[in-house]
């Protein structure tokens, strides 16, 4: 008879290891369906939201405007002021008495536009301040990092300004939601407008911010412009916050390219566009064609910072204060009365996200994250400035119309720097959940956190 070396002890060890391995996944989702949840306000008279925005760094302008919008949203939720978009939002469960009768309070954090700093401030707001929801950010790197943290902790994350495909693509999470549009949508909206304005034969040179947002926007715009017949001559990655982009712009001058696509945002975009204009690119002619610059993701704040350099330049934006729908008018009036100037797209998306979260809690009748997730998934709403909108259940991405804008040649005021040239309908920018630009991710299970 053949002897085996298996002892009783090794069998016991193996069984124990197998048991631990098989129950390990349950450890990570142990709170998913528990009765309690993290930061349950219980009988308290108030509930705390965490506003995590860049107060320093390259995106500080956007961050300041986001914070203004959050403060306005909180005052409207608490029944103060003129109510803003709560007068136009449809359907509406909010009553102007806070959320579920609890007064809304908030804490703030500075993301510094750095993933580690953003996670640290979000963690502090969750663990120390008891925030039930974290929102904000002006960078996709930060949004993805904080979204991951919120998923692990078990609170809801309502993303601020994040335009990378990955936020609701390969890095999507069940506890995270994005109202803002994305790089793919920018490409889909811009393609036909660029074809009409500049034809089908162009040589494009991309300068791209070297992080998740830049990569996915470059890929989306490249696909979209190649689809209309343009050639992508070169793509160059530039460090975030480089400041001086001259060494990346000088090679464009004699590259043979007739189009410069700047996949930059915030201060980087202001600096690169201003420097591109200083280097005479807009006065240049290549192979009988006028040299053109394109900024796929625009914001009014950025356009103001770049001054005359933006005139005539095409781009896309999630929202613009000049829209004439009732929701936009109500928000601009309310924001303008409070701060003396119109809101940016970053302010708009943050304001809307706060109201959507609060409304979902009202509909769910609880702050419990998994119930809020259920209330938001597939939710259809209107009156928030972008026409009929849906939070798609499959990826937690909002689908709505996208705006194509152009730098205004003759601005009538300091705020009147962009002109909406086309409202691209939702159907044109929509894509299947398994689209190649968004493939590879999984929402995973919802997490209520440890009670």
């Amino acid at each position: 008879m053949k002897e085996t070396n298996i002892s009783r002890r090794s069998v016991l060890k193996g069984t124990a290891a197998l048991g631990m391995a098989s129950t390990a996944p349950m450890f990570f989702v142990r709170n998913a369906y528990a009765d309690g949840y993290l930061n349950d306000p219980g009988d308290a008279s108030s509930v705390t939201l965490g506003f995590n925005v860049p107060q320093t760094g390259a995106y500080a302008d956007e961050g300041a405007d986001e914070l203004r919008a959050y403060q306005l949203a909180v005052s409207h939720l608490n029944g103060e002021g003129d109510g803003g978009m709560m007068n136009t939002m449809q359907p509406l469960s909010l009553k102007g008495n806070g959320i579920l009768g609890k007064k809304v309070e908030y804490v703030t954090g500075d993301t510094q536009t750095k993933s580690d700093a953003a996670r640290a401030s979000a963690k502090r707001m969750i663990e120390k301040d008891g925030a039930v929801m974290i929102t904000g950010g002006s960078s996709s790197g930060v949004a993805i990092a904080v979204q991951g943290l919120c998923q692990e902790a078990g609170v809801i994350f309502m993303a601020g300004l994040t335009h990378s495909n990955d936020t609701t693509g390969k890095d999507k999470r069940r506890n995270g939601f994005r109202h803002f549009f994305n790089g793919y949508m920018s490409g889909a909206a811009l393609g036909p407008v660029l074809e009409k304005a500049y034809g089908t034969e162009r040589n494009a040179y991309h300068l791209t911010a070297d992080y998740t947002w830049g990569w996915t926007q470059e890929a989306s715009i490249k696909a979209s412009t190649e689809n209309i017949g343009w050639n992508t001559q070169t793509t160059v990655k530039t460090p975030v916050g480089a400041g001086d982009f001259s060494q990346y712009i000088t090679p464009v001058l004699n590259s043979g390219a007739d189009t410069l696509i700047l996949n930059h945002y915030g201060k980087d975009m202001i600096n690169s566009l201003t420097q591109a204009v200083q280097f005479g690119l807009r006065d240049k002619s290549v192979n009988g064609k006028d040299f053109v610059i394109i900024v796929p993701l625009y914001s009014r704040l950025m356009a103001q910072g770049a001054g005359e350099a933006v005139q005539g330049i095409f781009g896309s934006t999630n929202w613009h204060w000049s829209l004439q729908d009732e929701g936009s008018k109500a928000f601009v009036k309310s924001f303008g009365a409070a701060y003396g100037f119109p809101p940016s797209q970053a302010a708009h998306t943050c304001y809307v996200q706060t109201l959507l979260y609060a409304d979902a809690c009202e509909r769910a009748g609880t702050f419990m994250p998994c119930e809020v997730v259920n209330a938001l998934e597939g939710h259809k709403f209107d009156g928030m400035g972008n026409g009929p909108t849906e939070y798609r259940a499959e990826d937690h991405q909002c689908f709505k119309d996208v705006l194509v804008v152009q730098g205004k040649e003759n601005p009538s005021s300091q705020f009147d720097v962009l002109e909406v040239v086309e409202v691209t309908p939702r159907a044109q920018v929509e894509y299947a959940p398994d689209n190649e630009f968004f493939a590879g991710g999984d929402l995973g299970p919802c997490n209520n956190g440890a009670a």
Binding site: Q247, Q278, G305, K333, G340
Partner: protein
């Protein structure tokens, strides 16, 4: 060929800034023996001289913006424009050149105060302690600027007349594709003039001769009855003026923020080390050399062979030079070798 010409120009223009800062660092080190980590803050203070003068010239009255009808919006109209019309607008347009005149006495005062008020107490201390105290000072200055001006970069444009680009290619009979912004060309010329002026001052004046002698052998100069320390204090003030002027002139190229000095400081220290500690000529040569190398490393042809080389080239060159020539390009024997 055009691409190479453009990158050389670009490298020289960057190198001008590196050389100006590195020159001041080397002067302070060569004379007072101080490793001054607050030198970047002096560059930043210079840039904020331009910001302050611009703010002063654009002091404004709030006027209702009639183009916004759905809420009360206000726009700012500078008093200079209200009082003097087009002349006021022109004065505002020239905020940066005006700042140069203001920066010279101001930076001299700041430099002398810094040396007399703090740095002189650390002459006999170790380099590590000097680094700690000057780095701390830099952080304090940074935070003061942040508290007063905020964290965002502040656009400080050059005068309109030099806001475009020069067609140097066609002027030199080369390709029309070679154009370069006027202000960057002015910056390059300015840095060459300032560097030449500093060298001439040290080379052709009695004061400069004493300073050079003191850098070589301080005790001997003291024994000859010359108060060399007083002269070195003035040199520190001069280094502050050079750094400040570099900052003022750089403001239209890169909108200043509180961190701009620290961004340049690290690179400038590398420049000083590559040039050779205490060597003025080495600092200037290394500044231009590293600026040009950085520009070349950003060329697509180079990056296609060595991806990411543009981010590390300066440090890579520093490592290689220090391996081959441990004292740097023009370093003197005995400096920082104890």
């Amino acid at each position: 060929m055009d691409a190479i010409f453009l990158q050389i120009l670009n490298g020289l223009d960057k190198g001008g800034a590196y050389a100006l800062i590195a020159l001041g660092l080397t002067l302070a080190f060569g004379t007072l023996g101080i490793v001054n980590f607050a030198h970047g803050a002096l560059f930043m203070l210079g840039a904020f001289c331009a910001v302050s003068i611009q703010a002063l010239l654009t002091l404004s009255k709030k006027v209702k913006d009639e183009s916004i009808t759905f809420f009360d919006a206000y726009k700012e109209q500078p008093y200079l424009e209200i009082w003097w019309g087009d002349i006021g607008t022109t004065i505002i347009d020239y905020a940066v050149p005006i700042s140069i005149l203001a920066a010279i006495p101001l930076m001299l005062l700041i430099g002398l105060s810094m040396e007399r008020g703090l740095i002189r107490f650390f002459y006999k201390r170790t380099h590590a302690e000097q680094i700690l105290v000057t780095f701390g000072l830099a952080i304090v200055i940074q935070e003061l600027i942040k508290a007063n001006f905020g964290a965002n970069p502040i656009p400080t444009p050059a005068p309109d007349i030099v806001s475009g680009s020069a067609k140097i290619g066609s002027a030199l009979g080369l390709s029309d594709a070679i154009v370069y912004p006027w202000w960057r060309l002015i910056y390059l010329s300015f840095s060459v003039v300032v560097l030449a002026a500093v060298f001439a001052f040290l080379q052709f004046t009695t004061f400069g001769m004493v300073v050079r002698a003191g850098m070589h052998d301080r005790d001997m100069v003291n024994l000859m009855g010359i108060d060399v320390e007083r002269k070195f204090t003035i040199v520190f003030g001069l280094a502050a003026v050079v750094a400040g002027l570099a900052g003022v002139m750089y403001a239209p190229i890169l909108p200043p923020d509180y961190h701009i000095g620290m961004d340049f400081l690290v690179l400038s220290f590398v420049v000083v080390v590559v040039g050779g500690m205490g060597s003025l000529g080495g600092a200037v040569a290394a500044g231009f050399l590293l600026g040009i190398l950085q520009s070349f490393a950003s060329m697509n042809e180079v990056k296609s062979i060595f991806p990411g080389i543009d981010q590390i080239i300066i440090y890579l060159v520093a490592v290689i030079i220090l391996l081959v020539r441990p004292r740097g390009l023009m370093g003197r024997k005995g400096v920082m070798e104890d």
